[in-house]
Amino acid sequence: MTIEIAIILIPFIMAALIPLFNRRLQKSFIGWVVLVIPVSLFLILTTYIPRIAKGETFSHTYWWIPSFNINFTTYLDGLSLIFSLLITGVGSLVILYSIFYLSIKESLHHFYCYLLLFMGAMLGVVFSDNLMVLYAFWELTSVSSFLLIAFWHHRKASRAGARKSMTITVSGGVAMLVGFLMLYAMSGTLSIREIIGNVDEISEQTLFIPALVLVLLGAFTKSAQFPFHIWLPDAMEAPTPVSAYLHSATMVKAGIYLVARFTPVFGGEVVWFWAVTGVGLLTLFWGAFNAVRQSDLKAILAFSTVSQLGLIMSLLGLGSVAVHLGYSTSSVIYTQATFAALFHLINHSTFKGALFMMVGIVDHEIGTRDIRRLGGLMSILPFTFTIALIGCFSMAGLPPFNGFLSKEMFFAATVSITNLDIFSIASIGILVPVIAWIASVFTFIYCAIIVSKTFLGKIKPDILEKNPHEAPVGMLISPFILIGLVIAIFFFPNTLGAYILKPAMSSVYPTFPATAEMTPHIYAWHGFKPELFMTIGVILVGLLLYRYMKHWIKIYRLFPQKWTLNAIYERVITSSENISESITNRYMNGNLMHYFIYIYVSFVVIVAGTFLTLEAFSWTPSLDAPVENYELLLVFIMIFASCALIFAKSRITAVLLNGVLGYAIAFFFVIFRAPDLALTQLVVESVTTALYLICFKYLAELKPEKTSKRVKLSNGIISILVGSTVTLIGLAVINYEKFESISVYFEDSYKLAGGKNIVNTILGDFRAFDTMLEVVVLLIAGLGIYTLIKLKAAKKGDADT
């Protein structure tokens, strides 16, 4: 057990323990106990920072299923470290915040149990080197996210949101699994590091591009990229601490992690570049564009998260160009996009986490998140206002906050990419900075909306009636820590760069030497460069558009409601539900006869079909034993009795005919040298017949079958087909002698088992377990019969219901 494996397992162990000590603990105390876990994990992880910064990596393997190459291999490098610090760091703050946010009347033990489950799964994702283990943890994050979104499961919207996120992320996850399997088929290993080592070999293969697309599908669905982003706004039905944690800082970043992790594998491909950059930019624009028209504060933040994730994604796409170009002094400039992506990843977690907590406070204290009903809260919630102001300034890319730095780097990266002349960038590359700039204008507008519509202006009278007041200190601690980081990172970005970002860069570009260009010095002021003018333009145009919003807001109505992605999703889900229901109702119609027909027809089709296509029929009557006259007579008696059984009008006749069959078989047993069978058969047949007769006392007389001639005919045909299939196969198999009979072994029964009756020794000794289980079957049947009879006695009074 190494520390890294322990880090993954501790949250799971704690999650399992919560139900145990839940009863003994005071409810208000449980959050504090849980808080210990992420805080201590965070502290343990910080001890790795200096060593990782020096370029060390930590890997440990716990052999799990070596025969399938599935091992629990943890790998801790710069990239994993960033994510694990975010997971535990933001996790600690969110749990601290939730202690004050959630009322103790809620089922807190469930909440913290799910949250820890999620934390463990997420740490598992970023620490796993083995693709299968990574996949397992990946799906576990979807499951725990589902549980957390549906935490208030009495609300219909929560359940619908949970289902939507589950449907979309899990289908992406399954696509990713197929992609992983393709990678395994090509490289023969499930270890990510070994796959990265074999890139040259596998990039030539035909499965390479399909694998790339499938892995990207997994990343895009998880990171809410267009058009899969629709689950994220609905996931906001979760309690606000969950939204702050899962749906802004951690889980949605798993897709970013995956893309960063696989950049060394797929980064050289043109498909990768355009898919990641293009989808990222589209998401960036679409999220920002839609955030502007939302009226729910949380919905604005949801779309803004979508948009920011698109920004990070597109930066990773731009950075992948460097992998294609290979290391040279001219190409190293393009790695700065990846650097900016990782930088913005951290920045986004800080300001977005703070903003979500801010919305949570507004919701908690005022009772609504609708910006049409809010306004003028600046005087009531001064501290919350500070959080909102700083968070939004940072998000809009204004100094002196960390968002400004990464936004400038983003603009710089989009501008510098237009100089490239590969991947047909020359023709459409100019769109990259244009889209980025337009999206940033919208980002600025929705940031202005959050601040002004909530905190500026006049207070609505109905809010004043409730006498709102500032949130308790406990709720303010977490967002203020995050806001502190927002400012601190702006002033000391290069500390972060040297210790956290630099080692992560070498994980994304393992073949590049760690030169100074790989970790550029971050300046707040770098002269009059295009990116500065872009920022100024964003502010000016943004202010102008915000001022005259009334005039252009109508463009949102141009989109037909019927064709929004959500409407399409709903239609697909409803129609597939309806179709599957109607199909199921058609064949699961409650008619036992039809179910039997399915079984028999598939038996005939599959068995006889295979039999005929393989031309396996053979019949050698010459090997048969001779037929005596009395045997012939018995056979005819049986055939006659069985045919008569079909036409039997009374049940007594039917049972007697069945008895004829049973006793005739006993005769056959005698003839075929099976005295034990004959005895047993005689006894059992007598008892069965008696049982039938006893039951008949209580049952109705046989009625003639009311089925139509057509059904009878088709049933007859099916029966004949089944019967002849059995006969044909029996004839073909009877003289099959590919291997020796194993029965010779049992003939030594006296020596081996001390019995002279071979059949008895088989039952009582060689295969005694069979016999024991047979007795168990008898016992179960006996219990069942007893229960069924007793049940009647007990429920006699209300048997008619």
């Binding site: 069985s642 059984l645 078989i665 069978l677 039951c695 029966s719 088989i762 039952l763 019969i785």
Partner: protein
């Protein structure tokens, strides 16, 4: 003899299948009984017929007829007896509760 037995088994299976497909509960149960008869004969025939003496060491020196199918059939007889008994009581309960042994009428009566 084996070929003849196979034909007999085919007839039994046909009859059993036809009965199982009927609407009356008693006929269905009889059908399962006929089917298990057929299967017992099938297993026995598969082991080869009249290939040797009764598998009792005290009776002869061998060669013996194959004892393994016999042991399997012995188990099967007992189990088919158990299931038949259970089905009969189930039919009895169904008839008591619902007042019908017609499967067509019984469908959809459970609280799905």
């Amino acid at each position: 003899m084996e070929s003849l037995m196979m034909i007999l088994i085919g007839v039994l299976v046909t009859v059993g299948t036809y009965l199982v497909l009927s609407r009356n509960l008693i006929r269905v149960i009889l059908g399962t009984a006929v089917l298990s008869h057929a299967v017992h004969l099938l297993i026995l025939t598969m082991g080869g017929l009249k290939k040797g003496a009764v598998p009792l060491l005290s009776q002869s020196e061998g060669p013996f007829t194959d004892a393994l199918p016999q042991a399997l059939i012995l188990t099967a007889i007992v189990i088919s007896f158990a299931t038949t008994a259970f089905l009969l009581v189930l039919a009895y309960r169904t008839y008591k509760t619902n007042g019908s042994d017609d499967l067509q009428e019984l469908r959809g009566m459970s609280d799905e």
